[in-house]
Symmetry: C2
Subunit: 241 residues, 2 copies
DNA sequence: TCCACCCTTACGGGGCGTCACAGTCA
DNA sequence: TTGACTGTGACGCCCCGTAAGGGTGG
């Protein structure tokens, strides 16, 4: 007798909620292959497989309607869907990159002068939307020479502090991270993070998690297992103080 | 007397719809600074400025609620919002990159064997979600040596065709793009695009637009103004045939 | 009998699109 | 008067979260 899952078991296996499975049943994308005589849902092994496919495709950014087509219609052109999705993802990635650069500019401008030149920002974003700008040199087209210099210098000061700290840590990996010097280094890290993230401890923690997970690639503070290990231990020591 | 805009004029200026402005009025994020005696909305110059700010921030990925806070509460910490948004964007960018790689793998697998090994794909995406994978070498952890080889070879064949075409075009920029040879080259481009994008002309056009706009950075068919100019002319000639 | 689980039904939310119906401006 | 524009009101979409009120399984 093949194993049947209750709705609770299944949603735990897929890390989703009961409500979601109810919904999937409702819209006919995943119906339980059996029901008990009192209409409790019972899912089979192949239901589980299908659910995993659904969750996977959803993570890739497909709508439930598209997923239904892809999985139901055997003739449906999976390949084309995948390729369309790939183009869409590339475009979105590119948009994000540009917007991120633009926000960076905004941050620098605000931190150095406390005012935001909205008309400039609006212009830049308008141009981004019309895709007039290549990813790298948008600011060269939309800022004056002085503004560019200012922007670059400000960014440079920032990165140099991080670079310095990174070098210091790498040069002292042999020392005890839980000793005085290690704690000093981690305090520097915190100071820089707080400077960058407005003294919000939760943001600082988020940055640390991102760094550890390698989510945000940092050119001037690259991901390095040994540095992570060192700082982690130093963090511990600091928290225990 | 300062210029006042009707709702129609304003929505055209901002490339949005009347409904959107109604909605913005309704949720108190942008109320017209005047109404006629019959309650038609009249927007001022500063309303327009505010609308542009709203649209800009929306493009950066802020919710209308956040935007309201940023613009209304003078004391509100814009800087922190920007930085939070920057982290969020970085995370999203990274997720997209990984998913795109994964889809690429799926496409290759499907094109070479016509079947998809779902259990493998599900595993990979599960790992992506748990952020266990560094961006570059996910497949090395989740595929067998044979699969990796197969994957890489298939990808290589593809890229070599594009590389070859690119070189051919660059070597012949001096020739007439609207002559026989130019048309031959653009036909090759179309053939490759159709091979990559399942013979869908609309997808092919989309790819061409993306290439021209530099939206999708291609290592093996890089963006090059001269190549774009050449191919554009050749396209013209082909269409006029 | 207990209690964790299950069912169905229904509302909400974000950011509008899309009617319907009626009044208004040139 | 015509016809383009404007107003308000209301429902729908997508993907569920969150509850209400009651029945079931072990």
């Amino acid at each position: 007798m093949p194993k049947l899952y209750t709705i609770n078991e299944l949603c735990h296996l897929a890390s989703i909620t009961v409500r979601t499975l109810h919904y999937y049943d409702e819209i006919n994308i995943l119906k339980p292959s059996q029901r008990t005589h009192k209409s409790h849902r019972r899912y089979s092994e192949s239901d589980l497989l299908r659910l995993q496919q659904i969750v996977t495709l959803k993570h890739m950014g497909f709508s439930l309607e598209k997923i239904k087509q892809i999985l139901n219609e055997h003739k449906f052109n999976i390949l084309e869907s995948l390729k369309i999705q790939l183009i869409a993802l590339s475009e979105e990635e590119n948009r994000i990159k540009k917007v991120a650069q633009c926000i960076n500019y905004l941050i620098n401008q605000h931190e150095s002068r406390e005012i935001i030149d909205w008309s400039k920002v609006v212009n830049i974003v308008e141009a981004l939307k019309r895709k007039e700008i290549d990813s790298q040199e948008w600011y060269e087209k939309y800022l004056t020479a002085m503004e560019i210099q200012h922007f670059k210098q400000f960014a440079k000061k920032r990165t140099q502090k991080w670079k310095l700290l990174f070098k210091q840590i790498k040069d002292n990996l042999a020392t005890d991270p839980q000793g005085d010097f290690g704690i000093q280094l981690v305090k520097k890290w915190i100071a820089l993070a707080d400077e960058a993230y407005a003294n919000r401890p939760n943001l600082r923690d988020k940055l640390w998690e991102s760094y550890k997970a390698g989510v945000i690639p940092h050119r001037y503070f690259p991901r390095d297992e040994r540095v992570i290990a060192y700082l982690s231990k130093a963090f511990e020591a600091l928290n225990n103080q």
